[in-house]
Amino acid sequence: MIEAELKKKRISGDYGFFIFKLQEKIENPDAGQFVMLKAPDEPILAKPFSIYSYKNRELVLFIKRVGRLTGRIFSSPIGEIFYVRGPHGNPYISSIDLTKRYILVGGGSGISPLNFFSELHPELTYTKLYGFKEAHIRKLFNENEQKHLVIEEESGHTVVDALNELISEEVGIIACGPIPMLKNLPKNAYVSLEAVMGCGVGTCKSCALKTIEGVKLVCKDGPLFRKEEITWEWI
């Protein structure tokens, strides 16, 4: 794996931006792809994180603190060495209808791949909606991004409410976020799924997803799926 030195962090509550400098480059990542990131010791499992931004061996991740690895990242001193490999998974552009433009709907840490998408594919981006519960998140984002934030404790609206006001036949939807949010989306949405991953490359069968075409793997066949193809009861 590639050494990734923690260079900068900006934290608000349980969310934060983390900038890593990689010792070697990773192969031209595209939006929707993720890296497997490993702590120097515990936990021993490498875990998947979508690329928020990547340039010149500088990897930006947007992370929500939920458990052991993310906790470790939040509390690490600057200079700590982590390890990454990737990019893994399929770029969104290999799964979507390229004749459309898309509303990018993110919830929490799910905004990460959507940011990268809007960076790399502005021509495919109709608009972005970033949903969060709490207003303190605003201070992590710059002026340009503020208008995309849909903050529940400010407006009483969820990001799906906001989406429903924009929906039209012509524009598609790409969404990434918590399962309940994804379940509330219109049928024709593309959803970017999370799953517990072991290898991230398709060998270990940890990230199984039941679909109308049988069991698929989020890492190898995803992370983007058509909402209708998923057997939601299995998740």
Partner: protein
């Protein structure tokens, strides 16, 4: 000085002792961008069952301190799918392929061995008697008689070398190992994941949908290592040591305890390049110690260590 890493076991020449353990590496193909298979001694393919299996419902994996608990549930295309879809591709992997199978009845074992016997790409067969993740089933390797029955059945149907994969978490592994050897096994794999679980304290429920799974990774290394050591102390049969090998020291510990081949499971999942990293570490160690052949250190812990040899 060059170091000779090769080793002959089961009448087969392995270019080095590193074996990808069955499961985490799947059928190997997806690892090719990361791992140079010409530097891998062998790959034990994902276990094949008679019928195709979609595996257990998720979550199938959860990490624990120093380890990973999985309950994949032998997701595989079944023996027919294996033969039609996988076998034709196997020559893409420039290493020895060990075929792994698991039956749920003696008849199934029979069928699987017969089919594996016919596949020319697969020179060795591993009988997985110890999968910890099949709901409601006891593991064959928990019982002397069952072990013996399966191995005998297999022995009658093939001349290919038979390796028997044992569970490390039994009361007396020597008893089971002896039974397998007497029934005609050519080698043993020690061991498999150890039955384990985690509970999510927020929900009050087991994390894995299947409740329990098999623990692999550094946590189990000293446990399985002791089983390899004890078995090789009393039994003269080649052993594939598997359990928590993450680095070259771990690998060497197994070799010194008596394992001829060194299986890597969790580490491949964490880092697909770990097999070659581990191999380089072994090579550097042997050079530093001025040991010409890897095979000379196998079981050295039973022979007084380096002070004597």
């Amino acid at each position: 000085m060059g170091v000779d890493l090769s080793i002959e076991v089961f009448g087969i020449q392995f270019k080095n002792p590193i074996v990808l353990a069955s499961g985490p590496a799947g059928f190997g193909f997806e690892l090719q961008p990361y791992l140079d298979f010409s530097k891998v001694g062998a790959i034990t393919l994902k276990t094949i069952t008679v019928k195709a299996r979609e595996g257990n419902p998720p979550p199938r994996l959860v990490d624990a301190y120093g380890g990973i608990i999985n309950s994949i549930g032998l997701q595989n295309p079944g023996i027919k799918g294996f033969i039609t879809e996988i076998v034709p591709e196997l020559n893409k992997l420039n290493t020895i392929k060990i075929g792994s199978i698991a039956g749920f009845s003696l008849e199934e074992w029979q069928l699987l061995v017969e089919e594996m016997d016919k596949i020319k790409e697969i020179p060795l067969i591993e009988l997985n008697l110890s999968c910890p993740n099949i709901k409601g089933k006891r593991r064959w390797a928990e019982d002397v008689k069952l072990t013996q029955k399966v191995v005998k059945t297999a022995r009658e149907l093939t001349n290919k070398p038979i390796i028997v994969k044992l569970a490390p978490d039994v009361t007396d592994i020597i008893e089971i190992a002896k039974a397998a050897a007497e029934a005609g096994a050519d080698g043993l794999t020690i061991g498999n994941g150890i039955q384990a679980m985690r509970i999510n304290v927020e929900t009050g429920l087991p994390v894995l949908k299947l409740k329990t799974g098999g623990l692999g990774g550094p946590a189990i290394k000293p446990i399985t290592l002791a089983r390899v050591f004890k078995t090789s102390e009393v039994l003269d049969i080649p052993i594939i040591g598997i359990g928590g090998i993450m680095d070259w020291q771990d690998a060497l510990e197994y070799a010194m305890a008596g394992a001829s081949l060194l299986g890597i499971g969790t580490a491949v999942m964490v880092d697909p390049q770990s097999p070659t990293t581990i191999l380089s570490g072994i090579e550097a160690f042997l050079k530093r110690k001025k040991i010409k052949r890897f095979r000379d250190i196998i079981g050295i812990a039973h022979r007084g260590g380096f002070s004597v040899s």
